[in-house]
Symmetry: C2
Subunit: 362 residues, 2 copies
DNA sequence: CTGAAAGCGCTAACAC
DNA sequence: GTGTTAGCGCTTTCAG
């Protein structure tokens, strides 16, 4: 437990001032001879600059924060791996928090990050504009990943927020939403960049695929924060959406199971289900089995997220794959490279991977 | 992007000295009237003490580091959730790193944590004593989780290290290993506390269960860092272990698959497999399917780790469940409560959950 | 090109 | 009880 050498030790041993050491080590200007001597001494003393001093001086902690709803959800595991890979190659620390999908815990974690002066954050958001305003007001560089916060428009209780869907819909630039009336108390959409999958295209492709198989009654099994996917589903299915076929879990595996089970029982006439995420897909498989529904004979299933175990199911699950790892990596790149400026959003492609969980409508 | 209030601002606004503010906020002594005034002003100014100043002053970053091999492995996701839950309730930050099971990356991450002055660390270790000595020498409080570093004894190339097995074998206190001869260059076992599952009992139970089903040729499909489980398997199987029935992947899903596939092909006479972790179990299921081996008709399978998708397989997988979340939570508790002292190790129970992947030996 | 010095925000002696 | 003060290790003006 010996104490580490400080910059002062190095300066003395090299016979130079601390400023010179600092310059040399951060690539500043110095005469070749000095530079060499300092480097030698630093190596000799096994000097590692302390992030503590630097952080205080710069009034900011390096690295980035990462907030995800649940690490036992394999997709978020992939996302996190991507972020960590990028951070590691940059030698930057990542402060991780798991929100459980709960805006309150999310707010607490944001507070913790603020206290740590972490000023760059990648988040799969659970709260709304109110939850996020402290971070934004503090000047944090925030990048959302995988989804955007719900926009609690008064007339849109389900959080479907069409404007939100329009905001990031793939290749076609979205038209600006109409200017809000002045003195409006309704929160405006957060102007935060995001790295998300092209949900609209992904869902559309899946729905068309199912349609092509002859399915008419297609259900959507959603989770919290999936307003973009639901909206895409509604759009893909077309005008008169059977509302009973759109159900939601609250995020836990139990509630996902309950939602799936309820769906199957209340509407035995449905012939296909699109699950909005892997936890929901898992629930659908379980519920179907419990109710003796055969996949794909009795019900076809498409799951959002490709995860290793999708192939283990029998039959293997047809999925809408989104690049979780890339998503994390890209987000980390953006947040690291943003020199304070606000990065641009990124939409990543999805891919329908056809395996065995969909069959023709009987 | 307004700048935050500092302790000085609060002191001035409350008409007291900075020390008093500091004391009040850290629960020190102060007269009721002062305390109240300071608290009021602090709330008023929305003052949040900056961790930066405190950290530098105390020459240590709060919170803890967490190093795991791979977050897409659901078990480590569970473990991480446990750590995060404990940290969150303590309001402490967690700096996360993913090592990919690679000692070099692990060493890099340890260096990064040292640079950040993170002095408490929970790790699923991949490297050996050499990898870990920097952390230990720097006075870090380290707790291993899930497994212990391999002890590269010269005459124990497989890393089986019986002493290691004896070190933590559940309820019975282990006998002290015989004193090492002096002048020995061989590294001694690391004296680092750990939170692990009772691998010995878990494996033993599984092997007995399979034996009870009539299986004679039982294979073990292991991964890196599983020396304790292999040793337990050898012990449970008894003296003449058929070495061809003990195979290893290197950690990646690909290599796990290759190992499983190779095993099934080279030894068609085996009738049961114990997979040392969920990634290995996944590989075993996939390889068996590819080779047209039916589970459990042709081969019985027990997998270490209970993960949600184990129930999705058909048949659902019989597993040795270990409490991943608890493991993480306990480790975090230990590392947070250790006031510098070295915590005691903890061994958590496992449970054999019988589902449908094991059948009688034909 | 280099060194001296001024803090960053906080805590912990130490005086009163 | 409370205020004053001295740094923690580093970066960054500002002179030389």
């Amino acid at each position: 437990m010996e104490k580490r050498a400080t910059i002062k030790d190095v300066a003395e041993a090299a016979g130079v001032g601390v400023a010179t050491v600092s310059r040399v080590l951060s690539g500043g200007s110095a005469s070749p001879s000095t530079r060499e001597r300092v480097l030698a001494v630093a190596a000799q003393l096994d000097y590692r600059p302390s992030a503590l001093g630097r952080n205080l001086r710069q009034r900011r902690t390096g690295g980035m924060g990462l907030l995800v709803p649940d690490l036992t959800d394999t997709f978020y595991g992939q996302l996190a791996e991507g972020v960590l890979a990028c951070a590691r190659s940059a030698g930057e620390p990542v402060v991780l928090g798991s929100t459980g999908g709960d805006p309150e815990q999310e707010a607490d974690l944001i507070g913790m990050l603020l206290e740590q002066s972490v000023d760059r954050l990648i988040a799969v958001p659970s709260g709304d504009a109110e939850t996020w305003s402290p971070a934004l007001r503090a000047g944090m560089t925030v990048i959302f990943a995988d989804r955007l916060p719900a926009q609690s428009l008064p007339d849109d209780p389900g959080g479907t927020a069409l404007a939100d869907l329009l905001l990031l819909d793939g290749l076609s630039p979205a038209p600006q939403p109409p200017p809000q009336p002045q003195f409006q108390t309704r929160p405006r959409p957060l102007d935060v960049p995001a790295v998300v999958a092209d949900d609209r295209a992904g869902i559309r492709t899946a729905v068309r695929y199912l349609r092509g198989l002859g399915h008419k009654r297609i259900a959507f099994l959603g989770g919290p924060g999936q307003h973009r996917r639901v909206a895409a589903f509604r759009e893909a299915v077309g005008a008169p959406v059977d509302e009973e076929l759109v159900v939601f879990g609250t995020g836990s595996r139990d509630s996902a199971y309950a939602a799936a089970s309820g769906l199957f029982q209340s509407r035995p006439d449905l012939s296909a289900v699109v699950a909005g995420g892997n936890v929901l897909g898992e629930a659908a498989v379980l519920a179907a089995r419990e109710l003796d529904l055969r996949v794909p004979k009795d019900v076809s299933l498409v799951m959002y997220d490709d995860v290793p175990w999708a192939e283990l199911c029998s039959p293997p699950l047809t999925v809408i794959a989104q690049p979780g790892r890339d998503m994390g990596y890209r987000a980390a790149e953006l947040v690291l490279r943003s020199g304070g400026r606000k990065p641009r959003s990124v939409v990543l492609p999805t891919e329908l991977i056809i395996r065995g969980s969909c069959g023709p409508h009987r």
